[in-house]
């Protein structure tokens, strides 16, 4: 087990370097970031040259990358164009996004798995068909349409919730954005659980449990659900990373100042430091979430052992 974890952690190192290099190159391909700094005017050439020098943009890309990575290892993620430290941006943005992600994941777990269990046990019945339809509809509509529609209806027309989120982003204001963010994944989780439950419901061990005379509730929660959760856990685990970085559209609609917002700003302003910094952290989150998922397998399925 310990060796396995260490091996996986070691493998993260090349992924980390590869991802940062790739992102670094991508942002560099986008062209000259200085040009966008002077509004609709052109920066005067000497100021532009001076700015390039200050941000190290006058050096070859490989040298920029090495300098950047060297700084990252001393905890310095650089400075955004508005003069803020990237670490400062991160400490403001990540708590917000983590809260949003938690809300979204809770929706996925609570609603998604419940619906999945219900439909899985009643495969082919009307309730199954209805939920199936709903999930398909949710998958088929782009997130920004869902978001704008919910914001308009709940926030403006009916005044049930505030249409946007305050900078402090308390949990209760994140409910609707969280639901929007989770919507597609929610549909996936429902369908995953449904299939898994339906399949395992015919497994021998479930039949044995029922034959033993265990109460139905106990059969479902202890035997059936636990064994059906592996694909769901896989999905949710990998979804954590996707939700955190993929909230760009949702955060924009609800004016949430989280990771997606900073990333979007960084991209628009072509601030290499911001983008690479945030994506690096996201890649790490993604890798660690994957590792945790793999370890959870052993918990859920005793047959799995790591060497």
């Amino acid at each position: 087990m310990g060796r396995y974890v260490i091996r996986r952690l070691l493998q993260m190192i090349p992924v980390f370097f590869g991802a940062t290099l790739l992102i670094f190159l991508m942002v560099n391909v986008m062209g000259d970031p200085i040009a966008g700094l002077c509004g609709d005017k052109a920066c005067d050439p000497s100021t532009a040259a001076q700015l390039k020098k200050e941000f190290g943009l006058d050096k070859p890309v490989w040298q920029q990358y090495l300098t950047y990575m060297g700084n990252v290892f001393t905890g310095d993620f650089g400075t955004a164009f508005n003069g803020q430290k990237v670490t400062e941006l991160m400490s403001a943005a990540f708590p917000v996004t983590i809260r949003l992600t938690i809300v979204a994941i809770l929706f996925e777990i609570v609603i998604g798995i419940s619906l999945g269990v219900v439909t899985g046990l009643r495969r082919g019945r009307p309730v199954d068909t209805v939920v199936l339809m709903l999930t398909l509809v949710v998958i088929a509509i782009p997130v920004f349409v869902t978001g704008l529609l919910l914001q308009l209806l709940l926030g403006v027309e009916w005044g049930i919730v505030k249409p946007t989120v305050q900078p402090e982003a308390p949990f209760n204001e994140l409910l609707i954005p969280g639901l929007v963010l989770a919507s597609v994944s929610l549909a996936y989780v429902t369908r995953l659980t449904r299939t898994s439950i339906a399949e395992n419901a015919r497994a021998d061990y479930v039949r044995t449990a029922i034959a033993k005379g265990l109460p139905r509730r106990r059969v479902i929660t202890r035997h059936l659900l636990r064994n059906s959760l592996i694909p769901v856990v896989t999905f949710i685990g990998t979804d954590v990373g996707a939700l955190m970085g993929g909230a760009i559209v949702t955060e924009r609609i609800f004016n949430i100042h989280g990771v997606g917002y900073q990333l979007y700003q960084g991209i628009l302003r072509q601030s290499t430091q911001t983008v690479v910094g945030f994506v690096t952290v996201l890649v790490l989150v993604f890798l660690i979430a994957n590792l945790i998922v793999d370890l959870l397998y052993a918990v859920l399925d005793p047959r799995i052992r790591y060497a």
């Binding site: 493998q11 992924v15 590869g18 991802a19 790739l22 992102i23 991508m26 942002v27 391909v29 986008m30 062209g31 398909l136 509809v137 998958i139 088929a140 509509i141 782009p142 997130v143 920004f144 349409v145 704008l148 529609l149 308009l152 996936y188 989780v189 369908r191 995953l192 299939t195 898994s196 399949e199 015919r202 592996i230 694909p231 896989t234 999905f235 990998t238 979804d239 990373g241 996707a242 970085g245 993929g246 760009i248 559209v249 990333l263 979007y264 991209i267 628009l268 994506v279 996201l282 890649v283 993604f286 994957n290 793999d294 397998y297 052993a298 399925d301 799995i304 052992r305 790591y306 060497a307």
Partner: protein, 324 residues
């Protein structure tokens, strides 16, 4: 779960480390060694497909979704069959007007006929969906298949590359790759979606190849001295391809929806291309005043996505002997 390979037991569980639901759903069907049929491997493969086909022909979901898709393909090829107008002919004086005789869906914000644009948009959106899916499926299975088949160092390398591509935010990728493109054709968008979409299929393909590789008949073929390419193409691929097909059909719908999101962010398809994504993103701002502008292209998109997802669903159910 005996054989230790790179990612521990993931693939062995049938979950395949897959991000996509259908991946894990689908790979499960591969771990039924010595299933109820108990027949030989080659025969089993054939009967799996023919059984599936017999199932599908009787499945109303399959029939309906196939008809919808057929219809879409036809109007993509010959849009003028059902729309006589010109999607680029716009009269600002009629902007945002509602339904009227001869123009059942009304006009959009530029005064273009929504019905004509919805019909003509099908070609782009279906092209984007189908081409992206084919590209992703081919490239993803190639990489994933190699990783799964050869294992060891190859697997570690290819899987880590997959991880790297997984880590790139779609919007960043979109802004980077698509903003440098000046072409107004659909190909850059398709190329971009393949670039960020293949890791999903690669993981699934890898998982199912690993599972298939352990089957007795593959071991037998190896023992008989079959070459790598013969094993991969004759024995493993036919048994590992099902999950890829299933996931791909579901993903196809999401690619069409993704094109809409890219357009919303301003990096999707460029005019004068007509697509649902462009129209949906333009109309989303007017959701309060003129919802009809959003309703029709979004409805067409949803129906298309539904048709492909249902097709994928039906195929998966048909391929899964346990759910029969």
């Amino acid at each position: 779960m005996p054989e230790p390979y790179d990612d521990g037991a993931i693939a062995g569980t049938g979950a395949g480390g897959a991000m996509d639901l259908a991946a894990s759903e689908a790979t499960t069907l591969e771990r039924t060694p010595g299933g109820p049929q108990g027949t030989g491997p080659a025969e089993k493969a054939r009967s799996l497909w023919s059984d599936a086909w017999r199932d599908l022909r009787r499945n109303p979901v399959f029939i309906i979704s196939s008809l919808v898709i057929l219809f879409l393909v036809v109007i993509s090829l010959w849009p003028s069959l059902i729309a006589s107008g010109n999607p680029l002919q716009c009269d600002l004086a009629k902007a945002q007007e509602g339904s009227q005789p001869g123009h059942p869906f009304g006009y959009n914000g530029q005064g273009c006929d929504v019905y004509t644009r919805t019909v003509y948009g099908a070609r782009t959106s279906v092209t984007v969906g189908v081409c992206t899916t084919v590209g992703v499926a081919l490239f993803g299975s190639f990489v994933g298949g190699l990783a799964g088949f050869f294992g060891g160092g190859w697997d570690a390398l290819l899987s880590r590359v997959t991880d790297i591509f997984f880590g790139i935010p779609v919007v960043l990728g979109g802004l980077v790759f698509l903003s440098v493109v000046t072409s107004s054709t659909v190909w850059p968008v398709i190329g971009f979606m393949i670039l960020l979409g293949w890791p999903q299929i690669a993981r699934i393909a890898r998982g199912s190849v690993i599972t298939a590789k352990q089957n007795d008949y593959v071991q037998a073929a190896r023992a008989l001295g079959a070459s790598n390419s013969r094993m991969l193409l004759r024995h493993i691929a036919p048994n590992a391809v099902a999950p890829v097909i299933v996931v791909a059909t579901i993903a196809l719908g999401t690619y069409i929806a993704l094109e809409a999101t890219l357009s919303y962010l301003g990096v999707g398809l460029k005019p004068p291309t007509v697509s649902w994504g462009i129209d949906i993103s333009a109309a989303s701002q007017y959701i309060r005043n003129a919802p009809h502008m959003l309703l029709w292209p979004a409805g067409a998109l949803a129906v298309t996505v539904l048709a492909f997802i249902m097709l994928g669903d039906a195929v998966r159910d048909a391929l899964d002997p346990k759910l029969r």
